[in-house]
Symmetry: none
Subunit: 226 residues, 4 copies
C-alpha cells in the first residue's frame, strides 16, 4: 500500500456536523525533520500497511515490518511511539482514503440522491476489491483501536445521514431519514464490500450495485405494497 501525500494524521477534516474527531490525531507520529527521515517514515508506513493487511495486527511484528521497509529496527521508534500508535495512524489514514475515494463520485453524480448512493457503492466495491488490506485494517481496528474504529463508522454514518437529509429537504425521499437508515445503508455497503470485494467471487460489481440500489430505491416488496 502506498500512502500518497502526507495524508497521515489528517484523516478528519472540518465539517459542519457531529463529526467525531479521530483520537489523538497528531500525537501518534513523531514528525521527521529531514527529507531522509520523511522517506524512512514513509517506508515504514507502507510496509506496515502491507504487513497488517496480510497478517493482521497480532501476527505482524515490528522486526518484520522494519525488514520489509528496509530500515533498522531502532528506526521504528524514531517515528512511532509504539506498535499501537502505528496502527492507529494507519486506521485514520485508511479511513480518510476510503472517504476520499468515494467522495468525488458523489460530488460528480447528476441524478437523484439514492442513485448517488448506488454510484458511491459501486466506487466503494471497486475500492474494496482493489485494496483488500485496507478493509482488513479498518475491521481489525474494532479490537485494536476501538476508538478510531468507532470514529470511522460514526463519521461515515453521519455523512450518509447528512446526504439523506439533504435529499429529503429536496423532496427526493419517501420517508423521513433517521440514524437507523444510515447504519442500515452503511452495513449493506460494508457487507457487500466484504462479499464481492474482499472475498471476491468474481461477480460483476455493477450488478451488485444495481441490486442494492433497487433495494434502496423501492425495497423488495411488491410495488404499492404494505
Amino acid at each position: 500500500m502506498v500512502l500518497k501525500r502526507g495524508r497521515i494524521a489528517t484523516a478528519t477534516q472540518g465539517g459542519k456536523g457531529k463529526r467525531v474527531d479521530a483520537v489523538n490525531t497528531a500525537s501518534q507520529l513523531r514528525e521527521p525533520r529531514t527529507e531522509r527521515g520523511r522517506r524512512t517514515q514513509r517506508a515504514v508506513l507502507d510496509a506496515a500497511a502491507a504487513e497488517f493487511g496480510e497478517k493482521g495486527f497480532h501476527e505482524s511484528s515490528i522486526v518484520s515490518i522494519t525488514i520489509r521497509a528496509g530500515v533498522a529496527l531502532g528506526s521504528f521508534y524514531t517515528y512511532f511511539e509504539s506498535k499501537e500508535a502505528l496502527f492507529k495512524a494507519l486506521v485514520q489514514d485508511m479511513s480518510g482514503r476510503v472517504r476520499d475515494h468515494v467522495a468525488p463520485v458523489l460530488g460528480a453524480h447528476a441524478g437523484g440522491a439514492i442513485a448517488a448512493e448506488g454510484v458511491a457503492l459501486h466506487a466503494f466495491l471497486e475500492f474494496a476489491r482493489e485494496h483488500k488490506e485496507i478493509y482488513r485494517i479498518i475491521d481489525e481496528a474494532e479490537f485494536v483501536a476501538p476508538e478510531d474504529w468507532r470514529a470511522h463508522y460514526l463519521n461515515t454514518a453521519a455523512r450518509i445521514l447528512e446526504r439523506l437529509q439533504a435529499a429529503h429537504a429536496k423532496g427526493e425521499l419517501g420517508v423521513e431519514p433517521c440514524e437507523a437508515h444510515a447504519w442500515a445503508i452503511m452495513g449493506m455497503n460494508v457487507f457487500l464490500g466484504l462479499r464481492f470485494g474482499v472475498m471476491d467471487t468474481g461477480a460483476d460489481l455493477g450488478e451488485v450495485a444495481r441490486a442494492a440500489n433497487d433495494l434502496l430505491q423501492d425495497g423488495l416488496g411488491l410495488s404499492g405494497s404494505d
Copy 2:
C-alpha cells in the same frame, strides 16, 4: 456467558442447501468422560466466553481464564487442545446460538416474508443487546478463526436467501432475489445490531426494526419513483 445444554460442537445442523460445515467441528474438544469432567469443561467454556467477550482473544490469557473458571491451569488442556481450539469451539457455539435465538421467531411469524425479516431483526437486536460478548467473539473470529467466521456468514446469508426465494415462489416479492440481497440484508442487520445493540444508544429497538423493515419493504425512494 452461560452455555446452556450441551450445545458445543453442534453448531451446524442438517439443512437442504449449500451450507458450509463448520471446520473440524468436533476435533477441537476432548470430551470429558465423567460428570465431574463435564462440569469442569463447562466452567472453562463459560469463563472463556466472558473473558474473550470482555478483553478480546489476544488480551485474554489461559491463566486468567482458568482462574476465572476456578480450575487449575493444567485442567484447561484436559479439555482443549489450545487457546485457538477453544476459541473456535466458542465461535461455532455462538454461531449456533444466534441462529437458534432467531429461528423460532421466524417460524412462528404469521405475516408476509419481509415482515418476518423485520421480526427476526428485532429478535436479533435484542439478542445483541443482551449478549454483547457473542457479537464480539464472532466479529473477532474474522482474524482468529477465519474459516469459522466465513462459515458463519456464508450460512447465515444462505438461510436468508432461501427465505427470500421461498417468498418469491409464493409471489410475495417484487424482485427476483439474489445473493447480493441476502448479503445486503445481513449487513443491515449486523450494523444495526452493532449500533443499537452493542453500542447501545438506548434507542427503542422496535423503532429501529420498523425503520429497517420499511426500507426493506418499500425502499427509501418516493413511491412509484425512479
Copy 3:
C-alpha cells in the same frame, strides 16, 4: 518387547568377582499381589520397553505408555514409583537379557578362548539386529540412569576379563590380559553391534564376526611383526 518370566529385578546374579550390584535392585517395583495385578504390571513393562525404544526416555510419556498398555494412567503408580524407576527396572532387565542371550553360546563353545569371543560376538550382533530397542535403552541409561549403566558395563567387562584370565591360565593367550583388553573388546562389540546390528547395513554378520575375531586373534599387523 516381551519380558519373559519374572526376570525384572533379577538382573545380576552371584559371581565370584568384583561384580557391581545393580542399584536398588528390588525397590524399583511395587510387587503386584494378585494375578490380575501381575498382568497389568507386565503390560506396562512391555509397553514401556517399546515406547522407550522407539522414542527415547524423554519423548516417552506415562500417559502414552499406559494407553499403549491398555491400562489407566493411575494404574501406573500402583506398580512403579516413578518414570525413572520404571526405566531403571527396564535397564536392569535388558542388561540381564543381553547376558542371558550370549552366555549359552559361550558355554557351548568347544574351540579356543578367543574363538569363543568371536562366537559370542556373532550371537550379540544377531541379538542387536533383532532387538534394536534394547540397545537404545541401555545406551540412553548413560544419561537417565547412570549408575545402572555403569553397573552394566562394569559387569560385562568383568566377565570378559574373567574369561581372558581363565584362557591365560590355560596358556591360550600370547599376553597377560588386563582391564584395558576387556574394555577394548567390549567397545569393539558394542560399536560393531551399532553399525551392523542397529544401523543394519545388511552386511553378513558372520563375516563381521570373523573379521573381528581375526583382529583379536592376530591383530592387523604383518605376522611375525613388531
Copy 4:
C-alpha cells in the same frame, strides 16, 4: 568449555572420501553482525557446553544457560533458533575439535601405520580425560541430534578406514582392511576413552594405549597361532 577460534559451523572440511556432511551446518546459528554480538554468542556457547556436559541436554535449561553466560534470556534467541539448534551446533563443533586434536599427532607420526593409531589413541585418551563434557555431548547426541551423531561416527570410521587402506597399499598390513575393522578400532577407542578418560580410574594412559596398540598389532592369540 572454551570454544577457541570461530570454530563453530566448520565441523567438516573437504576430504577425498565418502564423508557425511554435518546436517544444516550453518543454518543453526544466527550470525552476529558486531563484535559485541560475537562475544555474547561465544559466552552462550561456552555456558551451554559446560551446562550440557554437566547436566545433560534435558536437565539443562535455557534460563540456566543464559544466567551462566551472564546474558539475558532473550539474548539466547538472538543467536540460536532453539535449544535443539544450539545443541546441534555444539555437537558439530565438538566433533570437529576431537578430530582437530587427534589429526596433528597422526600427521607427525614417523613409525608404521598401526603404531600411528596407537599414538592417536593416546592423544584421544588425554583429550577425553581433559574434556569430559565433550564426550558426554557427543554421546547424548545419539538421542538429541541423531543425524549429527551418525555423521560424526560415520566420518570418524571413514577416516580410520582411509588410513588403514593407505597402510595396506604400502604393504604394512597383514589383512585387507574393511569397514568392520574401522568400527572395531573406533569402538575400542571410544570405550577406552570412557573407561580411562571420562570415568578416570587414574590409570596410566600410556599403558592403556600400549595395550590397545599391541592388541591391534598382534592380537591376543599366541604368535603363529590359529
